[in-house]
Symmetry: C3
Subunit: 504 residues, 3 copies
């Protein structure tokens, strides 16, 4: 009833928003059938700004208010609101998933190369974002591919030995690639009886469904705008709310959302965020919102009530980040290229640091660029905090980067000792460095604990870094590895075959 | 103030909802005292539909709109709104907790056999739901009772040995039975001085309080409608929101809520669910809500905007579920009977599969019934997704059922080896299979990790299944068990007494 | 748009709330510059009651409705709304962080000794709250300082040995002291070029920023009201919502928020709390809210719809708590003094119990005081539940206190055995009792698992205590410690140097 009342009131006050949409004939044809097939999809779109606005109208807004970054849009598209056909029939020749459908050349997977028509700046920026390369950064890095294999592969126990099978594409798609993005292929075409009773031909996709951030699309482009701008509503409110980021950033490897929740910022959002305006562009600090969500610090165009720009909109994101604090063995300056698979450390491994922690500096941004990015992010802090506050916070954060790296270095020394003493098999033995129990504990030290501690410090969710998955576990884990190593060496160090000694 | 405004507006627009309630004289008498004793309870009820509607009015609605499934209700009950007396004085002869109270035969515990008066279809369906048998499914299964004992019992260390004490009823009620349901007994009657100064006699209940889903009630019935339809507001909004399910489905054994949270569905709910209508019956996809909550897929009557039924309301729930994916050693076809304590595998154990994974097929639904249930659930998916999308998702999910079962089989082989080598004591030694550290690690492999991985796949919260409590831990846990077994056998395998060898 | 509508409507209905603020000239001067420097801070304050009300107006309310507890406020402060200058220029002579700023004696850190001007009762009560002593209770307890050191210090592996370095002040401030509170010092003064282009002198603070509950302030006072009453909005809505408590009470050591979430209370809050009124004083059960948040049970002035007081407002909090159930080795009666660093057990250790569990009764409240506090808290329960319900719940809770203490006692026996057998180094060896892996497992037994089990029982979030971080882990952890001890003794018990035996 409340919604009824509000809607009624809104219609009276803002009639223009509820006028009949200007839809293209093509979109009208789509809706004739799809209005009642998977109708929830269409309903979501009807709630979208796309359904209610044409590019032409969108371009009339002032620079700061614009949500569209194109200076020109092809005339055929500009005058109609953005419907099914506007996106799903763009660039048919580029899409290997294009098929003839009721007289239209339709493709299933809408990609950044489609969205670029109206949003070229965002598409270009996102291309510099590590996320757009998330598929290759995992799949083209031999060490990371081995990590994937040891996580996703079925392990078999046979004749006293463990054997690791390669994971199937289905398993990888259901695991790492769910967030990193799959490679969407077209396996062929098949004719199916449809709901409306007619037989029709459709492309058969592999790697589908997927909305991972680095998805390889049927037109060869990378990424999926709908990872964050959830189809088919494409709501800016959703993209600005932390739940969107949490889809991929909540586990112990990247517990950003959990950390945000225990921060003062997260508390303010959870407690009084329902009073904020998540729809306005630009986004005014103090007026539209009074504590940052992920988007405020990392993405959005933020302005003050006086209209001064606090931060320019970015879909590159790392241009506000001096450090890379998760995902790798050590925290280090951000990589220069979003394609991190090209990085090699001194030992020739595809890692941004040595195993001891020294950075592969040629592949990383320099101090000056770090300082530029630090200042850019700090401008957001300074919109609510004093400079002394901000400096104090950053001093702690960068101290924590240092001490967590030191703890990882100590733990790595233990694992090197284990390999040296043949208590485990490592690089020298041409064995995976992630397959044995003790190696997995080592991986947790940086991938989970050092990582979480740094992120908690960065985002002021310090409670998480004490006992939740931070310092306590770092301190305990290294002692457990030390304990294990002592025990292994005490019993001789080589005890592989599972059978009692006296039975051998 | 906002609430004041909205209420004022609502009164103007919907006066009928705010007219004086038609309450029975008996309920009026209840309220005379209880309006100020535990008054929050009464206040909750005043907000309920029960307080504002009579069965007679409720039955006037169209079939799809009805929240009441009885075709007739006893005349004495039909004309009044549903107040205290209507429920708490029903069927006094069946209730062992009935007592004389101010001239009325009142019982404390309202049960499904009371609710059946107006909601017979729901009560009947719920009887086919495994949850209604949750008490017996735990307590009447010898293996599961042993699991309970090893979790809840106090362990004592004495003379170098660990001893396990039986848990008290209070402990069990505070642990497993909190969700599964207690058995509510009447220990006797006692006279107490009441708040209003008078002495009165009341039944003394054991197992109280409890709102577990399989509660054994004083009238012999099973279950508690208030598990989900929280007393005394009985809000459909609450039952449809995922927080209700999360009361029992959040821990590592059944992390459904956590998985939902990292799914796209959960993200949409968290971000824009505040705009949805959780009160409407039937529930219209696209109009009332634009992403499913637990209820949408598993329980609710869902229709399209054109009024087509997507899914019939069910309180059986498993009629939309082809697979049972949690709680047991292996995932398997759903049991035929909601009373799973009758199941025996080939070895005579009360388990739906062998220890190796082969299903006890006689007790499980067949392929055809699985297909029927799969199609029923997929209809809900298809209300927002294309058939290719749905098929792709299900192929991954069923692949994940297979691979997680394989990982459990490997781990079980390791534990069988440990028993065989007498590194631990298992079935052959007539010992608990859950009491030793290594057995607990084995139990975590299926109860936590395989389980979580499957559920994450089912509900598209794949981030959870990578590092949160899924594949990473499955892969690590099996290696740790293997490591332990190697170590145990290296030192001889029998090292029970806690004392240095040279001190023996 | 919705916010626009509501605001418009509210202005019409409640114009007095939107009239021009009566601000002091001093505050006016602050705003002249700071309106556009860190403007989010000012914007938050503009939303506050402080910005809209003067103490004089606040004192006109009835006793129950008053949010101000002073009977008189200095005239100079009483007539103006509470702005920047009113707080930041109070008691300049007491503040070591006072500095001359544009003709005013300004201090950075507003403290309880400033807030006391209008809120003397709250400040006095909070002084009896353990939280106000949270800094000293950690830092002045030698055992707890050792725990801090073993968590926060960098560990170095060198020459086969682990060495523990002392954590830096930055690390401690970024970890434990983030919640417990730092000691804020003034390191000196420095001149900085400011945003407005002028050079100005500012104090340079150590331990800043921090809003920990036991912060030691530059005026020597303890605590930070803004821990819960987040600056600069000081919203009672926020303080009453559980997210505020969750900032420090969410990790495995104090998972109160997580437990609340899986309780029926937390479910009701999450599902329908958006309909409640979090602003009203007093807070009326049934009308303003229909299930408790943390504040309702532990802090707030709660009344019935008839205006009867259910619970008086308290910032002491422990006057509603008979038991202390977390943070220490055993649960025990609450300490008499909020300064717990004075406590000594029979062995002279700064602990409220012996290692075996016997309470240091001289330092703890007696049975009678426990009963008084139990009854005080139960009054809140009774505002929605019957006495039988409440008694049943408390019987389980106090049984759980007993059994979790028993499990801790068993685990402590194992660790004492390990020390005795020299499998680990403990008190007798003058070694830390928290530094070795096995000792950390012992600490988890009480600090995480016993603790979580008790809190889950107390707050009816029992699902958490089964598998989430409760009984399952208690049962498993003790078996793992037992397993380890057996293994250690089997291999001889002294295996410190990390090298193969045959290499020594």
């Amino acid at each position: 009833m409340r919604i009824v009342l509000l809607t009624a009131a809104l219609v009276l006050l803002f009639p223009s928003h509820f006028r009949a949409a200007q839809l293209s004939d093509a979109t009208g044809e789509c809706l004739d059938c799809h209005g009642n097939i998977a109708s929830g999809m269409v309903a979501a779109w009807r709630h979208s700004r796309h359904a209610k606005t044409s590019p032409q109208e969108a371009m009339k807004k002032t620079k700061l208010e614009r949500r569209i970054s194109a200076s020109t849009v092809p005339k055929a598209l500009a005058q109609n609101n953005v419907g099914c056909a506007e996106c799903h029939t763009l660039n048919p020749e580029k899409h290997s998933d294009t098929f003839e459908h009721n007289g239209y050349q339709v493709h299933i997977v809408v990609t950044p190369e489609d969205c670029v028509t109206c949003h070229p700046v965002e598409r270009k920026n996102y291309g510099k974002n590590l996320m757009s390369h998330a598929y290759g950064n995992l799949v083209n890095n031999t060490l990371y591919q081995d990590l994937v294999r040891t996580i996703n592969g079925v392990q078999v126990f046979d004749a006293g030995q463990m054997e690791l099978q390669n994971p199937s594409p289905e398993t990888n798609a259901d695991s790492c690639l769910s967030c990193h993005g799959t490679r969407i292929g077209v396996k062929g075409f098949e004719t199916r009886e449809t709901v409306i009773g007619e037989e029709m031909e459709f492309p058969v996709l592999s790697g589908w469904p997927n909305v991972g951030v680095g998805r390889i699309n049927p037109d060869g482009s990378k990424g999926s705008c709908t990872s964050c701008h959830t189809s088919h509503r494409f709501s800016i409110e959703m993209a600005r709310k932390p739940h969107t980021c949490s889809q991929c950033h909540k586990g112990p490897d990247v517990p950003i959302y959990k950390i945000y929740q225990v921060s003062k910022h997260g508390n303010i959002y959870a407690s009084i965020g329902h009073k904020w305006n998540f729809e306005e562009v630009p986004w005014t600090v103090g007026k539209d919102f009074t504590a940052p969500t992920c988007a405020a610090c990392h993405v959005s165009l933020v302005v003050t009530e006086e209209g001064d720009v606090v931060a320019e909109r970015t879909h590159q994101m790392n241009n506000r980040l001096p450090w890379r604090i998760f995902g790798l063995i050590y925290s280090h300056a951000h990589p220069r290229s979003p394609d991190t698979s090209v990085i090699r450390n001194r030992a020739g491994l595809p890692l941004p640091t040595d195993l001891g922690g020294d950075p592969a500096s040629n592949y990383l941004i320099d101090n000056q660029e770090q300082q530029t990015r630090r200042k850019t992010l700090q401008q957001v802090c300074l919109s609510c905090h004093t400079s002394q506050w901000v400096d104090g916070h950053w001093a702690r954060f960068e101290n924590t980067i240092k001490t967590t790296n030191e703890m990882t270095a100590s733990t790595t020394k233990l694992i090197l000792k284990a390999w040296e003493e043949e208590a485990a098999k490592g690089l020298a033995a041409n064995d995976s460095i992630f397959n044995e129990a003790i190696e997995k504990k080592w991986a947790e030290q940086w991938l989970f604990f050092a990582n979480s501690t740094r992120m908690s410090s960065a985002m002021l969710g310090t409670d998480y870094a004490v006992f939740d998955n931070g310092r306590w576990y770092m301190a305990k884990n290294i002692q457990e590895i030390y304990d294990w190593l002592k025990m292994m060496l005490a019993v001789g160090g080589e005890i592989s075959p599972v059978a009692k000694p006296n039975k051998q």
